[in-house]
């Protein structure tokens, strides 16, 4: 027995020696004014106090030492990974963290130009949900909707293809960032909308025979009693130009409101105008307006470049469950998609593109933000990239929003977080941190339709599989 203990002790000591011997420390360091080539780009970004460790990789180096505040991380290779506990302490102690990267390359240690992390006490909602899908090429396979705690690296499936007979599924959206109220769609035979109300799942058949299509884009009313949704006939078309990829347009689309208590559909002539295409509806945080995008119908596909959606709103009375008649046009400059009002009601964030209704395949697609008090529009230059930036949603405190950006490779969307301070100024966004900083290099899925929630969504993929066996609750038209 003594002999075995002795052997174990020797092995443990040898491993310890091996580990310490393998991590080189800087010496004869050359100072450089160049910036280190790090990925993701976390240089000079504003981060919330509750974000997970901002692990990154220094590309093309043999070893690295990173000093962030009083934390020091050394590694062979370029991966820089912080422990969750020490990271949390670092953020709680500092408002500005200076980061010094010293890297070994070709036998020479170089200290690169320092950068900073600006820590703000405005927390971001702790859970992020997203769909994982290959870039939108009409055919899907093995889809998942997942939730990730942004304070650490825990990730769980909300819906999984294995448990759904490989059906198609669409975005999971919470109501007012409340994890106890959310909905998602599972498509195909026996599919339906899965509504989560305090962890109880209902299966709904929202489509009524008079609708042009099934529900596509939706948002909850602040009370949680209603959802507003668009029914879109979606047509994918391939771009001829080698420099472009897909164009997706709607040949028909209307907007409806569904009453989730009485299982009835509320409609309005203004929102189902046969000469107009109406889409991307969203309630204002006080529930008094429905914001949406609308464009006159054009001859399709030939006039697809004439599809220009304007931002509009129409009143809604939550108490009576009625849609008003007065339509206000708020923005007409470029084709508008996905309007989302901040929970404090002060700003509306939307994506703009040259034409059409599917920004994820428009390189020029950018996020713009309108101050609803003044009508001023901020083009968010510090936020946008030369690739598609869209599919955004707010954090419950209105200080953060998340969006999907294809800035890295033009194909795969990744979630980026952006801070909007109290003056309305947007700060440089940063990508969702991953435990292994090379994760995004190897990953072959897009993070689609990221949505923030204040807490953990109280169901999992098995619950959804069980809910799918329920009969769908029908809705009736008013």
């Amino acid at each position: 027995m003594m002999k075995i203990r002795y052997i174990f002790a020797c092995i443990a000591f040898a491993l310890l020696m091996l580990l310490t011997a393998c991590t080189p420390t800087p010496h004869d360091v050359k100072q450089s004014e160049q910036e280190a080539e790090i990925y993701p780009d976390y240089k000079d970004v504003t981060i919330p106090v509750n974000i997970a460790p901002m692990n990154f990789v220094v590309r093309g180096v043999d070893a690295v030492e990173v000093k962030a505040g009083d934390l020091t991380v050394r590694s062979r290779g370029g991966n820089v990974q912080f422990g969750v506990g020490e990271w949390r302490a670092l953020l709680e102690k500092n408002e500005t963290i200076e980061v010094e990267v010293t890297a070994l390359k070709d036998g020479q240690w170089t200290a690169y130009k320092r950068f900073h992390w600006y820590v703000v006490s405005d927390s971001i909602d702790s859970y992020l949900t997203y769909r994982l899908i290959e870039p939108g090429y009409s055919v899907w396979n093995r889809l998942q909707i997942k939730q990730r705690c942004v304070e650490n690296f825990n990730e769980h499936a909300l819906v999984d293809y294995n448990l759904q007979e490989n059906r198609c599924m669409n975005c999971h959206t919470p109501g007012s960032q409340n994890p106890q109220l959310s909905m998602l769609y599972v498509r195909g035979k026996g599919g339906g909308a899965i509504l989560n109300q305090n962890g109880r799942l209902r299966k709904l058949d929202i489509k009524t025979p008079d609708m042009v299509a099934t529900s596509t884009y939706f948002q909850f009313a602040p009370s949680g009693r209603y959802i507003v949704f668009s029914a879109n006939v979606v047509v994918p078309a391939v771009q001829a130009s080698a420099q472009k990829r897909l164009e997706v347009y709607d040949t028909e689309s209307d907007i409806y409101v569904a009453d989730l208590e009485q299982n009835r559909i509320i409609r309005s002539q203004q929102l189902s105008d046969p000469d107009q295409l109406e889409t991307f509806p969203a309630f204002s945080p006080d529930g008094k307006y429905i914001y949406y995008c609308t464009s006159p119908s054009v001859e399709l596909p030939q006039d697809y470049k004439s599809l220009k959606y304007v931002l509009a709103r129409i009143p809604f009375d939550e108490a009576a469950g009625t849609i008003g008649t007065q339509v206000d046009t708020l923005f007409t400059g470029r084709s508008v998609c996905h309007p989302r009002v901040s929970p404090d009601g002060e700003r509306i964030l939307f994506s703009v593109q040259d034409y059409g209704t599917f920004p994820i395949w428009h390189k020029e697609s950018d996020l713009w933000m309108m101050d609803l008090r003044t009508g001023m529009v901020d083009t968010l230059q510090v936020v946008n990239s030369d690739m598609s930036d869209t599919y955004h949603s707010w954090s419950s405190n209105s200080r953060w929003f998340v969006f999907a950006s294809k800035r890295d490779d033009g194909l795969y969307g990744k979630p980026y977080f952006c801070y909007v301070d109290r003056t309305g100024k947007a700060h440089k966004p940063f990508c969702l941190p991953q435990q292994d900083p090379t994760f995004y290099n190897d990953f072959l899925k897009s993070f689609n339709a990221p949505e923030l929630a204040k807490g953990k969504i109280p169901f999992d993929a098995v619950d959804v599989a069980n809910a799918m066996k329920l009969p769908a609750e029908p809705f009736k038209s008013e």
Binding site: E134, P135, Y137, S138, V139, W140, N141, R142, Q144, A157, D160, N162, L163, V235, P236, A237, V238, Q239, A240, S241, A242, Q243, K244, R245, L246, E247, P301, Y304, D408, D409, G410, L411, Y412, D436, T438, F439, N441, D442, L444, K445, D460, A461, V462, A465
Partner: protein, 539 residues
């Protein structure tokens, strides 16, 4: 055990298993190497094993991570000649030895042990005849047997020790080897049924609780990473895969040679009427083979020369990627057609779709194609994404290191579609017209377009497009000349027009012969015969 007994005589207990496994190995290696090698290439492509911790970490999200790690690591070498048959033979040999040892340790009749061990590997070999069966599954079974052998001595002890062997062994076995837990429990039950049976029953009852953890159905939890029933060799698919592999590796002479010697395609040779009807599977295969054969001939500028080689012929130009029930191998290779004609947007889309149609949505060959598309369109960011992945593989690393400097992609860029428009349908005519308007020298697209029209007997549009693209750059081909003859006759063309279009004297003299009598099979190589005799359809 020793091969020789005390008196120097051969120990038959050892000799027979050795003879059996040697015999099996010879047959297995010979069969898979000589008769079935292209299934290995296909399986090797249908995964993307990355030499990175990040990728290895993803395997932990499901049971059987050790079996998958070993299986996928070895499967990547299927890309190399001889490697597939060697890896499979060695793996099955190890499986035999494990099964023989495990069963032998139960003190069963040695002949029974030998027969069962042989049956296990024969069954496993038959599963590998199926293109979708993974090496990981074989390693899952090997893992179960190995686990039993390791814990076997503990099982022989008193029941608390046996329980300590079976219970953690079972859990560890499931975690490492997935369905390998079943052979482990079966052997353990034979060895110590009083301990194993209650443990196994508890495991079976509790297994559905792991659905949430692994996101698998109960049935999938039981058979992960995958089990198959007995499969017979699919030589039709092997030939399809052979032609595809030769095409992908640039051995185009072999594609032509294979097609010319192929009994399935020869059935469709135009020598009058087809000799016999093809089975459903053979029809599917013939579609894939004609498609690949024509792809080669088109890029050699010979499509007009071979268009009438088969009736009906199949170009792929009327095939939609979506909404039609096209054969799986056609679906996976349509991007080859678009890449060949220079439609990079569709080639990329086809490759992406092909990539998501394989287990794990990771197909190494289509990742390579996606890199190529990005290089052709000079999209450095996208190219780097895919090349970065391929640099982490063993079979594609060298290619990925050098791809950026490959001049062929810059040349290919001259033929890409420059039109700024969209196509909601898979209208190949429009696509080829756009490509030709972007670059009239794109002869591959031109031949596909003209040949598609001729297959449809659409002579008016053929003539119109021939005039548009072959006036400045004459493309004198026997097929086109013959088709033009029909158009000229139908339109009662003047002598001047005949002289303008018909440059091939032999065509003129054969036309006179053809016109003199009834359509005869000796004119089966002419468009006139096709036009007069064959009914449309099949393309």
């Amino acid at each position: 055990m020793q091969l020789f007994g005390k008196c120097g005589s051969l120990n038959t207990k050892v000799l027979w298993p050795i003879l059996v496994i040697i015999g099996f190995d010879v047959i297995c290696f010979w069969f898979f190497q000589q008769q079935y090698p292209c299934h290995f290439y296909f399986k090797g492509q249908n995964q993307l094993f990355l030499m990175s911790w990040s990728y290895v970490g993803t395997l932990f999200s499901k049971p059987a991570w050790a079996a998958c790690l070993a299986g996928e690591f070895l499967t990547q070498f299927y890309d190399y000649a001889v490697a597939g048959a060697t890896i499979l033979t060695v793996s099955l040999t190890v499986l035999f030895l494990l099964a023989y040892q495990a069963l032998g340790s139960l003190r069963l009749n040695r002949w029974l042990v030998l027969i069962v061990a042989l049956a296990v590997i024969v069954r496993e070999a038959s599963c590998h005849l199926y293109y979708g069966y993974m090496l990981s599954s074989t390693y899952a079974m090997m893992g179960g047997l190995l686990m039993f052998l390791i814990l076997r001595r503990l099982m022989k002890c008193r029941w608390p020790w046996a329980l300590m062997a079976v219970l953690p062994g079972m859990l560890l076995c499931y975690w490492l080897f997935g369905y390998g837990v079943w052979p482990f429990l079966l052997l353990s039950a034979i060895a110590v049924w009083r301990v194993t049976v209650p443990v196994a029953v508890a495991f079976i009852c509790l297994l559905p609780l792991m659905r949430s953890y692994y996101n698998l159905t109960t049935a999938d939890l039981c058979r992960y990473p995958g089990v198959e029933s007995f499969h017979a060799p699919d030589f039709l698919k092997e030939t399809d895969l052979h032609m595809i592999h030769s095409y992908e590796t640039g051995d185009w002479d072999d594609v032509v040679k294979t097609a010319e010697a192929d009994p399935v395609l020869n059935t469709l040779k135009v020598g009058g009427s087809p000799q016999r009807r093809l089975s459903q599977d053979a029809q599917v295969s013939s579609t894939v083979r004609r498609f690949i054969y024509n792809l080669v001939q088109a890029q050699r500028g010979k499509l007009p020369d071979v268009l009438l080689a088969y009736y009906p012929n199949y170009l792929g130009t009327f095939t939609s990627m979506i909404g039609t029930n096209i054969p799986m191998l056609m679906f996976m290779n349509l991007h080859e057609f678009y890449y060949a004609i220079g439609d990079i947007a569709r080639a990329e889309r086809g490759a992406m779709m092909s990539c998501v149609s394989v287990p794990g949505n990771r197909n190494a060959y289509t990742i390579k194609r996606l890199s190529e598309c990005a290089l052709v369109r000079n999209d450095q960011k996208a190219a780097e994404k895919f090349l970065g992945l391929l640099r982490q593989t063993i079979p594609y690393r060298e290619w990925a290191e050098n791809a950026q400097n490959d001049e062929r992609y810059r040349q290919k860029a001259q033929f890409i579609n420059l039109q700024d428009t969209i196509s909601p349908s898979e209208d190949s005519y429009n696509i080829m017209m756009q490509l030709l308007r972007s670059n009239p020298e794109n002869e591959v697209a031109l031949d596909y377009m003209l040949c598609s029209q001729l297959l449809k007997k659409d002579l008016d549009n053929f003539k119109r497009d021939y005039d548009e693209f072959c006036t400045e750059r004459p493309r004198i081909r026997k097929l086109y000349q013959e088709a033009l003859c029909i158009w000229l006759m139908k339109n009662e063309a003047t002598e001047e027009e005949w002289q303008k279009y018909i440059k091939d004297v032999q065509v003129m003299s054969r036309l006179k012969e053809y016109m003199a009598g009834k359509p005869s099979p000796r004119f089966a190589d002419t468009y006139w015969f096709y036009f007069d005799v064959f009914n449309l359809g099949g393309n």
